[in-house]
Amino acid sequence: MTTSTGTGKATGDGPDGDHAPHPSPPLPADPAAPETSPGASPATSPGTPPDTSPDAFAQDLLPTAKGASRGLLGSLLRPHTRAAWAAAVLLLLQQAAVQAGPLLVAFAIDHAVPALRADDHGPLIAVAAAYLLCASAAGGLQYVFVRLAARISQDVLLDLRGRIFRHGQALSLDFHERYTSGRLISRATTDVEALRELLSEGLQELISITLATVYITATLLYLDWGLGAAAVATAGPLYLLVRSFQRRSQRVYSVKSSAMAAVIVKFAETINGIRPVQAFRREQANDAAFARLNGRHERTNGDAVLEMARYVISSRLVANVAVAALVLWGAYRVASGSLALGVLAAAVLYLRRLYDPIDRLGMFLNSYQSAAASLGKIAGLLAQRPSVPEPTDPLPLPERSGALPGREVTFDGVRFSYRTGGEVLPRFDLTLAAGRTVAVVGSTGAGKSTLAKLLARFYDPSPSAPPHPGPEDLRTGSVRVDGVDLRDLSTADLRRAVVMVTQEAFLFSGTVAENIAIGRPDATREEVEQAARAIGAHDFIAALPDGYDTDVRRRGGRISAGQRQLVAFARALLADPSVLILDEATSSLDIPGERAVQHAMDTVLRGRTAVVIAHRLSTVETADRVLVMSAGRVVEDGTPAELIAGRGRFAELHQAWRESVV
């Protein structure tokens, strides 16, 4: 359901695809998988660290501890315990007022009528006053309750939305690369929505159903022990019906939701890929495929309604048979004189009300199941721990040593492998001198992007692991800037030190100026324009309908891939970091654009330490030093001139490139 207009495939891996692909299943995870089932999935065998299993990601079933969704709900409601109790009491009183009606009817017939006949108006006035009181109380209490309940549920939702959002932002990149964007978005939207429905309607429903049942039963018992007890006895078969409905509807419901998810995926994929769909005439093949998925949803949709119909019929049958039997019995007893007529009248009215909530209970169970499934998934997301945590006691960045703004970068005993296995970078040491430009080249999968992401602290180095734990292998390596481990820097300091520009130049909704200002939010308009000018983006921005104030998502805001990359560069210029990483950041630029970038690096960013990953050797040639990587190792290292003069891979690549340019 991504509506991105800019990034193509935002959920893919790094632009270079440097790491091992993560397999996922052909179909998305079943969004309605019941919250209780993760316990049974292989991903949660106790003792396994929560996120080692790729299957959990593949099936959208992140492992959660048993009862995690209940725990989550508890922790959300805890701050509102008192308000929740107050709401329950309000509802209790309100139900008392509502349910008092028939009782007053009984009183009126059995007491007020004889009293009136005896010219005693007291009881009638009492009935009138009581009814007035009950009606106003029912309305007034309802008003207060609805407002209080809304406040609680909105506060809970605010809290939950915030938690999901902050947690999603804190989780590291490797998580985002595996958890598709659509899932995270649906966690924060549709799953929260499911809880909202439960909170704003379901809980009130459940409380009022329970209260009404308890009240009516109590009143029936008070009116007449026999009738009351008989009414209570009907709860047995009804309970069994509810249980069986719950089991069956859970099954149908979960099938239905996954059928819907498949429909959504197909729909969204078609819309987002409309150009190739039309260009390659996929319409008819798509029609057929969609009709199949849609038909499956239609069937399960019908099944779900029929399941409800079955429940309604059977519960109504039980209820109506019970009413008839009780009335018959009551009539018999009135006839035999052991029951007052008014009592029977009141009991009959109550009986009709007693069985009203059964259908509502069915509806409530549906919304509870959907909310429980959603909460389970949210709990799974919140249980993920960021693998790149912020330090609790950050160290300051040391004063810059020299006159140059650049800083020295050290990779000390760093290795990196994905948790799924597959070593990407074997242990290595590397020092990049302050203020120098280092180019990294190599073929796809050589580990260039991983190197860059380690330096940008999108990843942390992997701990050294078996199979062959040598003594010196046991410690985790570190990436340091001017001697400070990146893991010890606060986010603010880290981003003053290192900034990375990637190939995918995503634009946030808002104006062009705002997009550039992401590099430094407190920058003035002059500084923003200066950055744009320095990178050669000023001309095209000025030509947009509203210049720098053009909204990138609105009319006329069409910005080409190359222009987006220029905006991304302007951002980085504005951020003014000590170390700049360019990961394929010029792939969509034409040659003048690339020149402008190079010029900016030579002037505006002069003296910064720069790491440049590029396929284009024109970018590489201006570097002070070139690293050629292959299979995770640096196989050549030297100045461009040295390497070109040699007989290595770089010389070969350079030769090929020279030929291609001529």
Partner: protein
Amino acid sequence: MADTAKATRRQQQSGRPAPDPDAHPDLDAPPGTGSAAGPPPPARRSAVRSLLRLWPFVRPVRARLFTAAFVAVLASCIGLVVPLVLKWLVDGPIADRDPGGAWLGGGYLLLLGLAEAGLFGLRRWLVARPLARVEATMRDSLYRHVQRLPVAFHDRWASGQLLSRGTTDLQLLRLFLAFPLTFLIVNATTILVGCVILLAQQWSLGLVLLTPIVPLIVLCSVFEAKYAVAARRAQDQVGDVTTVVEESVLGIRIIKGFGRHRSQARAFRELTARLRTTELRKARLLAALWACIMALPELALGAALVLGTVQVADGDLSAGTLVAFLSTALALMWPVESIGFLLAMSNDAAAATDRYFDVLDEPVADRDDAREAAEQAPVTGPGATGLAFHGVTFRYPDAPADAPPTLRGVDLHIRPGETMALVGATGSGKTTLTALVPRLHEVTGGRITLDGTDITALPRDELRARVAVAFEEPTLFSATAAENVLMGGEGAGPDDLRRALRVAQADGFVDALPDGPDTEVGEQGLSLSGGQRQRLALARAVVGRPRFLVLDDPLSALDVHTEALVEAALRQVLATTTALVVAHRPSTVLLADRVALLSGGRIAAVGSHHQLLRENAEYAALMSGAADGGGAARHEDGSAARHEEGSVR
């Protein structure tokens, strides 16, 4: 009837069952929508008119639907008859101490109960499958339609907007057909019948009981107008929240790269707090309405009870009649209360219908224009063969009125079998031009011809069969790698697949995938790198051996080594194909026989690479980066010099 209770109550409290997760406020109201914006009150008549548009979809199931409504009316009437039986029981057999009569009464009650339960179930059973079919049919129609809408439409509409119309709106409509539609009829009937029964039993009590109806109707309509505004605002705010969530996920690398997650979280918190305020306002309105709906009928009932008691005491009324009367009144309570909700829900359904037809009313790129254009004389003479642009102009339909058109008269002729490179500055309209050939966008003026035939004279399918395209941003679908490639050519077989993969130099990595070419890729499958996706997209373009090939910067994400290999293989394909290749780099340009320079919305120059380097300053600047372009001959240029410079540094 309690089944409506939940449905309508939910309706009341949430405004809409599921506010679109993707409602972007600015896009929610594309030009000409009626559903959009602003404070209703939408006139009741227009809501009815909107809902009437559903008829073609409902028609096939009308028999079942009407039967179900009839069944529901029956069931409700039974609910009203029950008190009458009770009255008969109390006044007759019980008062007479007649056990036989009591048995009879109990029997009637049982029969009515069974009938009521059966009818309730029957109603649901009758509509379950047909209404699911209506929903599915509408969704199918939407999907078919959306697929065939021009790209310009898709540029304008956020995908989430279309998606929400295909999901939540349609679910809402099915719900409307299942409940409010039926129960508006049912409840109106029930109320009418109930009023008749009440008035017939004791007209004075009946009148007392009916007094709150008028104030309730007024209240409901006032409430509806206010609530609709708040609900609409909440929907828009949900859209804003969704946008921030979506962007913070899609732009996570940038947010992390610049350490901006705190400010993102702050923006998010502000938006959600605003949403909370609106939701609380909705709750306040709702609370007031509910209070009135609870209290007013209860008051009337209390008044009726007092009056009835007096009458019973005076002997004007039997106790049994009073019980029956009050029982009937209680049974009517819910239908009266629910009318307001049902109307609100119907309004929502009307809005959903409007939203649905907003899309369905968009004209598809019509298929009939081919016939019209076919009558035009085919172009002859120079430029009659190959791919030719004749004075092509184009402006985006949503461009500001005062902006110059993107293309202002493009004339270009690509001879049969020739490969033409298209070069131009960033943002000059190269990609736009390529989109015109397969008619993803329609030219604003001028003509494009394939072998002398105007492309508008060709059926779209045939045009697109002749022209294959590889896009700048390669999109893979959730299918196997092989299927992704083979969708480029009808009837292409395994040999074609092999050949295409080889041309794109994709055979190596495809075979190395876990299941080889049968590995699932795309959003739901294996993640491939940009370069790999680009190569598969290229393979898709060449697999059907198209007559015409349009490639938009097809090699940008490839490393130098792979690029060289692809170029070598591609050269063979291009030798026999008429091709237009957008190029940023000399290496790509060199695939072409000739080069066209796009500048200022026109083709500024055509010639060989070397010729243009020498003669055209702009071209030289684009290809070599020389700022002045004056020393055009320096195309071998800077690289060597810079490299000296670099090594010295």
